[in-house]
């Protein structure tokens, strides 16, 4: 069970909002880069987020670049999952490859600061603040297998290949 506070963002949060190109010189210094996570969407986010919290987006979360640093610094901030109405393809794949769950659900039912509890196996999110239950779309099986190993590198290290 994952539990934490919701940090709510709008639609079309791009990888430039998460880790802008001007900080490319920090990409080989991830702890330093992580201090800037989501800076261009909310300059105070990195200081406020606590381990276990959730990043909650609108539609098309993570659009843009292929930079895997984007989900990586969100995970490094302690975020336990990204919740969004929809997610861009490359970000989705990158997040799963780094062991960060991305849950597709109706995020209109979540407000900034709400306390959430996520039941990964049951496919349900409890909004403890509002007393509402939200279901999320199951993660496709192929990706769930990667997520369950903690990401693509541990998955490949274990199996040596893709399990068809």
């Amino acid at each position: 069970m994952l539990k934490g506070k919701a940090f709510k963002f709008g639609d079309n949060i791009s990888t430039d909002h998460i880790v802008p190109g001007r900080l490319a010189h920090l990409r080989s210094n991830l702890p330093e880069l992580a201090k800037h996570v989501l800076e261009d969407a909310d300059p105070d986010f990195a200081g406020k987020v606590k381990p276990g919290d959730f990043v909650v987006g609108g539609s098309n979360f993570g659009l843009g670049s292929s930079r895997e640093h984007a989900p990586l610094v969100i995970k490094m901030a302690g975020v336990s999952a990204v919740l969004a109405k929809s997610v861009a393809r490359i970000f989705f794949r990158n997040a799963i490859n780094r062991g960060l769950p991305v849950l597709i659900c109706d995020t209109d039912k979540i407000k900034d600061g709400d306390e959430l509890e996520v039941d990964m196996a049951g496919g349900k999110i409890k909004n403890l603040t509002r007393g509402k239950e939200i279901t999320f779309k199951p993660i496709p099986e192929f990706m769930l297998n990667i997520l369950n190993e903690g990401g693509l590198v541990p998955y490949i290290t274990k199996y040596g290949d893709f399990k068809a």
Partner: protein, 417 residues
Amino acid sequence: MGKTLAEKILSDKSGGSRKAGDIAISSVDLAFVQDTTGPLTIRAFKEAGFCELANHEKTVLFLDHAAPSPNWQLSNDHMFMRSFARETGCILSDVGEGVCHQVVAEKLARPGDVIVGADSHTVTAGGLGAFATGMGSSDVAVAFALGKTWFRVPETIFIELAGKFSKGVYAKDLILHLIGKIGADGATYKALEFGGSGVTKMAVTDRLTIANMAVEAGAKVGLFPSDEMTYEYLRSLGREKDYKPLSPDKDAVYGERLSIDLASLEPTVSQPHTVDNTALARELKGINVDQVVIGTCTNGRLEDLELAASILKGRRRHSRTRLIIGPASPKVLREGVKKGYIDTLLAAGAIILPPGCGPCLGLHQGALGDDEVCLSTANRNFKGRMGNPKGNIYLASTATAAASAITGKITDPREVL
């Protein structure tokens, strides 16, 4: 049941008949990274315990995003990548040797190939009929080592093009119009496939511009058939042996179909801060422009230099508008010099950058000041993209960019042609 281009290529590369929705474990014909994603890819490769590449001749490291490097940290990243190239024997495309997607199109991509790159604009090679897509560092690290990757075979939106562009309207206007129409997530997880009579005579350079921006509608790939125009393009590069024809089956099943009459299009512009926030250039007339950028993997080809030079010949940039030109490869730059385009552009007050990504992603070579406006031929206008979250980026065709450089305001190029 007939197959779309995406289904055909992924069936071929995964050794079985695949249709939309299937998972395909596909062989990879070409895998590459660039300098802002490469170091993480190399670390993932090593972390997974890999030492050897599946095919060192089909693995490329491009140093193009920070070229030449603006700071010591990125210089160290370059050193790290050069050292990996020496260890593994893969191809290194060093600083000054061009933007990855342009070099891939000029030298490496073949119709029917599966190409993965740790750069979202890898989709560019779809203009040559390659199933080319962007992925993150972990996926590309695995492709480096195993020579394969996995895909969910995408559903396809078929875009049927008819007619011809009218004067002052280009491939860039078409793709901006299309993204404005279907939205920045209008093709998420899907393939865009272009066909119809409007494609038959369309040059590959235009197809590359269109395919390049497929990802801005969320698409996995933007695919064109491989036909006579593809043959012509490859032949002009001395690569006719890389040609093979490729077309979808007549009874292919498409998720959606959209028709666009090219003659109905007008010069189109994306406004800050999303690519689907489009308007016509004439509707934005009069917005002051501080900086014009012509270049990048979207519009940094010889045809763009030629078009910009033809508009700027005998004219000059507006005194308060900087004009930055970034040829996408050394080949483009050298031919632009030979043909006199570069001289014309310099005479018009342009700054010529070395071949590379230039200011597109905000690393260097033209970061915006607070509230400054840039009109760029690049593919993204996200908040913070060009080095400053307080900057405003508009995207347009090379002709609109050149026309706007003359007047210092957003200008419909038909006013100056």
